[in-house]
């Protein structure tokens, strides 16, 4: 059997170059295409073989000396043996620094739990973070199905509650799948919906005292809407319009 799907799609997926929707589509395809599945395994094998073979050849010391002579001396001080942080490296450090600062900020915000507003802000950050994490290639869904009767039983035995799984395709929110996630150290069922070209994550957790009742907000361009229903706390998050999330909430609340 030969798959009709363009092979460049497989490679783009393999290289993490598909966007979240493209990756999700490809993973759906992968479920039903052993041909692509095997090709992907072959690509992985080749990559790990290349990585394991240590083919990367570092510049010899003689080159450094030659450059030292040929470029004006000021370009390379002889005492510099190791490269200074490169652009990529300084960017990496910046990212690490930003992560540290963000972690500290989040941590600090947790310390201010007495302050309801900041608690909500911290929660929003955690939710948006979980949403962004889910959009990384390969992370969106563990069970890929547009059928609520497939998604719902998938959660059985994986979590100690049965999340209400419903498909709202007729209302413009097709169910794409589900996965397990951990939100603020609590296990959550993540239901993934499509909304036009956007992805909506709906996190369902067992309601706990202190959970937001009917809250909403925006963080870094992502909207979130939280509500409680039948002993569950729902949090919908997406980069789609706030009105869309509110509409989804009403669909959940409707009998």
């Amino acid at each position: 059997m030969t798959c009709d799907l363009s092979q460049t799609r497989l490679h783009a997926y393999f290289d993490g170059e598909l966007d979240a929707i493209g990756a999700a589509e490809f993973e759906r395809h992968l479920e039903s295409c052993p041909d692509c599945d095997m090709r992907l395994a072959a690509e992985e094998k080749l990559r790990s073989a290349l990585a394991g073979a240590q083919l990367y050849t570092r510049a010899p010391e003689t080159l450094r000396r030659k450059l030292q002579i040929s470029l004006p001396k000021a370009a390379i001080p002889p005492e510099v043996r190791d490269p200074k942080p490169s652009v990529a490296n300084s960017w990496r450090w910046l990212a690490i620094a930003a992560t540290v600062i963000l972690s500290v900020l989040l941590g600090t915000q947790y310390l201010q739990k007495l302050n309801h507003h900041s608690q909500q802000q911290a929660m929003a950050a955690v939710i948006v973070d979980a949403h962004l994490r889910s959009l990384q290639p390969g992370h969106l869904e563990d069970v890929i199905s547009t059928d609520q009767h497939t998604v719902k039983p998938w959660f059985d035995g994986k979590i100690d509650f049965a999340p209400p799984v419903r498909d709202f395709a007729n209302d413009g929110f097709p169910l794409l799948g589900g996965r397990l996630d951990v939100i603020d150290s609590r296990t959550a069922a993540a239901l993934v919906y499509g909304r036009r070209k956007h992805i909506v994550n709906v996190f369902v957790e067992k309601a706990q005292p202190g959970d937001s009742q009917d809250a909403s907000g925006e963080l870094q361009g992502y909207h979130w809407v939280a509500w409680q229903q039948n002993g569950f706390t729902f949090t919908a998050v997406s980069d789609t319009a706030y009105g869309d999330l509110d509409q989804l909430k009403q669909l959940f609340l409707a009998p």
Binding site: D15, E43, K45, P60, L63, P77, P83, V87, A88
Partner: protein, 177 residues
């Protein structure tokens, strides 16, 4: 010549990519000695034109110069290379048997030889992606090709690499590494 400030910038932004530059040259040229000469030449060119490079991806900028120097060198030295540009029309993908692909094992020497046996334009793309970890966008910038061409070339390069790897090993064909 460069101003003091530019010299410091060159040293900070460009010099650290010596290994990346040398590694790319080593694989395109298939030899260490040539790679050393051509990398040096590329650095000189980069240094001379650095004033025109203001901000952006210094690694991609340098590697673009390196690969251009490499291909110029290959032409000037009349190295027999399959220099034809990648073309989907003239090179339709050969069908592969997925089952046999998953079973194959590759050792280091075979991988080295197989990579060196790839056409130059496939070699550079595999090196940039798999050894240097460049994104498609960076590879497109370095090789001055549209991103779509990069994508299909990469798919073909990997396929051809595997095809070479499944061929029988010729005796005494090892090159220096």
């Amino acid at each position: 010549m460069l101003e003091q400030e530019d010299r410091a910038r060159f040293e900070n932004d460009v010099m650290p990519h010596r290994d990346a530059a040398y590694n790319l040259a080593r694989w395109i040229l298939r030899g260490r000695a040539q790679a050393e000469d051509v990398t040096q030449e590329a650095f000189l060119r980069a240094y001379r034109s650095f004033a025109g490079f203001q901000t952006g991806n210094a690694r991609a900028w340098l590697l673009q110069i390196v690969r251009n120097c490499c291909f110029t060198w290959l032409q000037q030295n009349h190295v027999a290379e399959e220099m034809t540009e990648f073309d989907e029309q003239t090179m339709p993908p050969k069908p592969e048997n997925p089952e046999s692909l998953a079973m194959a094992t590759y050792d280091r020497e075979r991988l080295q030889r197989a990579l060196e046996d790839l056409p130059a334009h496939f070699r550079e793309i595999i090196v940039l992606r798999e050894l240097e970890g460049c994104s498609y966008k960076e590879i497109a910038a370095i090789t001055t090709r549209p991103i779509g061409t990069v994508m299909s070339a990469l798919a073909r390069a990997r396929q051809q690499l595997r095809t070479i790897l499944t061929e029988p090993v010729p005796k005494g064909a090892s090159r220096d590494l």
